[in-house]
Symmetry: C2
Subunit: 453 residues, 2 copies
């Protein structure tokens, strides 16, 4: 069994070098939404893996390529790390205290776009491997990396890539791209992700706008058509009206409710942070709030646009209107089924004129919170954080975990370097260096324990 | 009785001079929405009136001033011309073939912002007066002008100004600021205007946007609140649901229907020009289309805005949403009553969180199509256009005619220089010079006939 004290010392000794390397990775832009720096970043990641003795390759994946890497270890078991090298656009630039692609360290934090999401996690995995190799000649287990370049644009090609590469990606367990601690510094295990079905609904009722004084009584109005159609999707008491929508919804288990009950009550934080008058559906907080946040599927209008939106008044009758709508899905809902349900529903309700464009879909997926691998990750946190991870049975957010769980048949667990103040997707994205060290120590313990099983 | 042949000759002889003066007036920007050139334009209009022997003054009116002018004539009767010296903003500038404030003549048309709406009408009245004064020493009747500077921003101060100046504005009849011919060149008499109640509805459900993965199941969503609230205003079969909304609606009279029946059927033109699949409410055309266009009150969504509206997807839960909505009103509806009905309705339906901002209101008003003054204007068109004006009993559009008709107790008639291709409020606004001359000839005849009664 590897000497964990020696590993911790090696981590400590190499932290500066790891942060230098993280700075180099963050200095390389890789904005998938804008197609900036993607190939160069993939090459850099590949080189970093090769420097650790990995066989690494850049594989075409439909859009931006996937970096795949593999290194054998002592045990027969294989741990797969899923990460991504792409980052969110840095805009609005004027809100950054230092430029987003010029990493800067101040007051114990490194600031850069991607430093937490997800390049900090890539370096976390590499730093753990460095420390293990400094103490030992070989890794405790086989290690594979799949590092994609399209996570920030919905991982639209990842599922097909995984289906096409099941042998290459074969493993026994997977560590997810994110992880870390909550507001109190307690490490959190996120055991699943809701799915998503993101659509744009649009309608065009004429070739050009008309004057409302002319057309108001006689022309179809795109803004009205959209309003009426949206209204049929969900009632003001939050019931989603698509026939069949709730059929496959699995309620939380007794075990899920026990786990939820152990999580801190976020009610006061939400009410204060977002300036809310209260929650919907009469929810006050506690277990009910935690359960609804995660285990209820949603239909959210993310955006509305039509006609005149400037100051003052303009008497226009709009020819076009559109809405962005996302459905968050729980097991076993399916985004493709939701699109079909939506089309059927709109047709049935007399809104065949509303067009649906699917902008992104991911299926929900969960790992059993009592899965031995997940429990091992939970327990190995104790030595680093003083307490085991608190298990959140599912996140309200979404990601491409479904093909890992259902194609590759892997348990998926989270461990990492982030915290609620990381400002991911926002200006001044940052990484607390102490959190980074903790994440590296946890990752090293996961590798050691996994190899020893 | 004035020699109309001599008047026509004088008009012909002075057309170039009139167009020069119109060019000077159009070269003076007067954009009320942007506060550009307003005082200078009022001064210029005042000077032009003084040059015709009018006593003219610039009167404060709350916002931009009103130009008032008066000249005695042979008869005791007084004709009041209502016009406006402000113009619409010229944007988008790149679509103008020549700069909007550099009047240019090509192919029988003058191009400039305001050349038709409404400076061409101001010069039309002045040119008629010039010709009459060239033939005769005095005008056939007393003439007054009220030329406001806020028509393009909703004439928000005009009604109060008129109430405060009923003696100054006392007259026997009024010629409105617009007029002209239809697609076939037939002169049109517009005997009334619908009213308008323009509101912005808005709702704020939080102090900042949230991530839809976090808040979708638990936070109030401004876009949903707005959608549900709007939906309660009007059913998909176009019934406006505000209690009391239709109570004061006067249906068209038999006489109105006869007049409508004489107007050409605009169905094919509308369908083609706006690329419509058809009209709403099963309307196909003919009398039904003409009646609905004018005599039905409306509730039009002019604009919708909330959350993310850019390309692609963004998983945001909007804190704020708003809609611009206009109600077109028919006699005897009242915009202030509609705002009260709207507030009561939203409260009753559970939408007390929706705020209403009144952006503009004008009451509907009509002149009896058989009023002798209006009939005189209709008949005097015959000598100029070969046919009398076709009477449109009301326009679908709106304007500040209510205080003229109901405070000053004047019949209001239209005569002028515009045509459907004038591009008012749009780039390349233009005036057909032949239409200008016809409008001047018609205006001169109106003055002569009015003085002779």
């Amino acid at each position: 069994m590897t000497d964990l004290n020696a590993v911790d010392k090696a981590i400590e000794g190499k932290t500066e070098q790891s942060l230098d390397e993280l700075g180099r990775l963050c200095a390389q832009p890789s904005i998938s939404a804008q197609g900036v720096g993607m190939q160069a970043c993939a090459e850099l990641v590949k080189e970093m893996l090769q420097a650790r003795g990995f066989e690494a390759q850049i594989l075409p994946a439909g859009g931006f390529p996937v970096v795949f890497a593999e290194r054998k270890g002592r045990s027969d078991r294989t741990l797969l790390f899923y990460n991504h090298y792409d980052v969110q656009p840095p805009e609005p630039l004027e809100l950054w205290e230092t430029p987003p692609f010029e990493p800067a360290i101040r007051e114990g934090k490194m600031y850069a776009r991607g430093v937490s999401d997800d390049k900090g996690h890539i370096l976390c995995r590499l730093a753990a491997i460095d420390a293990l190799l400094a103490v030992d000649d070989e890794l405790p287990c086989n290690v594979k990396f799949i590092i994609e370049g399209e996570e920030e644009t919905g991982s639209v090609n990842l599922s097909a890539f995984i289906e096409d590469h099941t042998d290459l990606l074969a493993a026994d367990a997977c560590i997810w791209e994110f992880g870390g601690v909550d507001h109190q510094g307690t490490p959190i295990q996120v055991a699943g992700l809701r799915g998503i079905c993101y659509v744009e609904l649009s309608v065009q009722t004429a070739t050009c706008d008309a004057h409302s004084g002319l057309g108001g009584s006689i022309f179809p109005n795109a803004a009205w058509r959209l309003t009426w159609a949206l209204n049929t999707l969900k009632t003001p008491d939050e019931h989603i009206r698509l026939p069949g929508f709730y059929d496959k919804v699995k309620p939380p288990t007794e075990r899920d409710l026990v786990l939820l009950d152990q999580l801190p009550d976020p009610a006061d934080d939400y009410l204060k942070r977002y300036g809310l008058p209260g929650f919907i559906k009469g929810i006050e907080g506690g277990l009910e709030l935690k359960r609804e946040t995660i285990f209820t599927p949603t239909c959210t209008i993310c955006g509305l646009t039509s006609g005149y939106q400037g100051p003052g008044s303009k008497t226009v009758l709009p020819a076009r209107a559109s809405a962005k709508v996302d459905f968050r899905l729980v097991p076993d809902q399916d985004p493709e089924e939701v699109v079909l349900q939506l089309r059927n529903h709109l047709d049935e309700e007399g809104f065949g004129d509303i067009e649906i464009m699917l902008m992104g879909g991911e299926r929900p997926a969960r790992t059993d919170p009592d899965d031995p691998f997940l429990q091992m990750v939970v327990e190995t946190a104790r030595e680093v954080y003083g307490v085991p991870q608190l298990i959140q049975p599912m996140s309200g957010g979404s990601g491409p975990n479904h093909p890992f769980i259902h194609f590759l048949k892997l348990p998926v667990a989270t461990a990492g370097v982030a915290y609620p103040g990381s400002s991911i997707h926002a200006p001044n994205e940052n990484l607390v260096i102490d959190n980074f060290v903790a994440g590296v120590r946890h990752t090293a313990r996961i590798l050691v324990s996994f190899g020893a099983e």
